[in-house]
Amino acid sequence: MKSRKMAFENLAEKLAQTFKRLRGKGKLSEKDVDEALREVRLSLLEADVNFKVVKEFVAAVKERCLDSEVLESLTPAQQVIKIVNQELISLLGGKARPLDLSGNPPVVIALFGLQGSGKTTAAGKLALHLKKNGRKVLCVSCDVYRPAAQKQLELIAERAQVGFFTMDPNTPPEVIAKKGVEKAISAAQDVVIVDTAGRMQVDADMMEEARRIKEAIDPRESILVADAMTGQEACKVALAFDEVVGITGIILTKVDSDARGGAALSIAKVTGKPIKFVSTGEKLEDFQVFHPDRMASRILGMGDVLTLIEKAEAAFDQKKAAEMEKKLRRKEFTLEDFLDQMKEVKKMGSFGDLLRMIPGFGRAHVDVDIDPKEWVKIEAIINSMTPLERRKPEIIDGSRKRRIARGSGTQVQDINRLLKQFFQARKMLFQMSSPEKTGRFRLT
């Protein structure tokens, strides 16, 4: 429940509230902007953006806010969001950046990172991704430390149907790496992916080893594999790896968690290196090119807000929506409205899909999808209710449920399910429609 609520207590709402309060005093001042930016700061900190990165970021945003028309604007909250969003996107690299696969094959890609960040899985995913793009790929495991790490990559490579190479775990990792590249040359492979052991950036010996691996194979891409759930230390970690092996890009893993992923911003900011891919699930196919705009929305806790606005705008009947909004503000929402809304929602794809675009709301907690086949049932059920029941579904008790079920030719479970969905939807709609909302959830 808590996590659901938090999704809606996001930055956009807080800013709207702040500005509403400030508006009362007339024209906005620099101090007012400061107050609003405090919300931005907290939001970024909650998203795990590094403390110092937040500080610099907010200072930059403030400058832009004062330069622009924020102070005069009728919708200052939206202006600020827009600026924050733009700045985030540009810090995250602006647009998706491809891997550098130029030059003579085999292209060497080395993966580095902390323990448990997901290097081995990422190696397999990247291999599959490249293989699908028509490359011949060899995976090399240099992780001689973690028990069965070599075996793990071997199995993954097998699953991805790409080549695999390693050597006895008593061999120095840089030797394995080197031999792996030689093997790729002789086997005419296009790409070699070298997986290394996880290491702490404070472990001098292990960092020295990383440097030796890098020197032995001179990779075209040295990728830092970082966990999206990382906290404040992301900066130090990234800087240390960059200093020792000179990273050229980042793979962000476990993006299918509900982490807001501020670490992505921290790393991108301190290294100036692009995030190239995100790893988003258990399957080897769950691997995508990184999109800065999506990550920006996520860090802000706003989901794919822009898509959401666009979709909603395109689908909703403006007049009806205005009426609905008024009702919602009065905290009125009946089963009849529900039926109407569901019809609208149907036009813009599934409700669950829409909600899933809001991070934190989470893939896990959404249970509002309605199967098209259920439509007929829902209509029948609602039509079998008395007007009072439709207006006040709370009164529907066991005996009423049985009556409605009989009337609509359904089961009591069906009534229960419908009511549950209705209550969930109502709750969310009320939350989304508290007054002075920024445009995104306004249905007009």
């Binding site: 907290l42 069965a148 199995l155 989470g362 896990a364």
Partner: protein, 305 residues
Amino acid sequence: MSFFRKFTEGLAKTSKNLRDKIQEIFRPGAVTEEFLEDLEAILLQADVGVRATQEICESLRLESKKRAIRSEDELYEILTAKVKEIFDAIYQPLKVSEVNPTVYILVGVNGSGKTTTIAKIAKLWIDQGKKVIVAAADTFRAAAEDQLAIWAERVGAEIVSHQHGADPGAVAFDAARAALARKADLLLVDTAGRLHTKKNLMEELKKIVRVVAREIPGAPHEVLLVIDGTTGQNGLSQARVFAESVDVTGICLTKLDGSSKGGIALAIAKELRIPVKFVGMGEGVDDLKVFDPEAFARGLFSKGS
């Protein structure tokens, strides 16, 4: 006493930074706004999180209104007491069953350190002459069973495992039976890493726990959530959802040998009242410490006794 020192030493790297910073910013006399701002910065950078940080700062502010805080020592005492208080309030010693076997199930997101921590806990018991069985209920990740088997051999634990891809519930079932039949003192169940956002995987976890509970009365005695010490605010979400699904009794905070402070454990203790039971400080089997709230609190703020 010797354990206590060992633990404090482990945290020394962590705490020294923090201590230096506090010394840097501390000016004798009243707790100024400036000081509180800096304290806030320190806590936030330790992943303690906005909310817990604000609460700690606020209570220090209130405290300073009641009495003038004049010395560094006094400040350390107050801060230490505040952190310690939070852990003390929820302190639970590690549960050991009077009837064998004691059963611990380790759960957590991918890569947090479950398997390694199993090896470490096994070692702790085996060193005391106990018989330990580990259950390879991670049948999903490639080579997970091999990894656990290697650890089991190294520390001298017995292992129960099935084929890759087998039902983890069935592994747990067999392991529970084996633990009873072979009169093991401790059964440690390794589970696959899973993100708390995956509903079906959380259901699978519930099933593992149910199976164990059915076979061994009173089990599991601990369900330990393994959290990577470098985790940010998502740790709260992890803890919340895992605790909702299976009755998490404690946290193993791993990878504190890095530069991270593991401050998320404080936020979790504060908000969800889940205690920390173990701390992981390296990749070796001996790099595990029983969590001591007193030492942790001291570690965070003290002059490093």
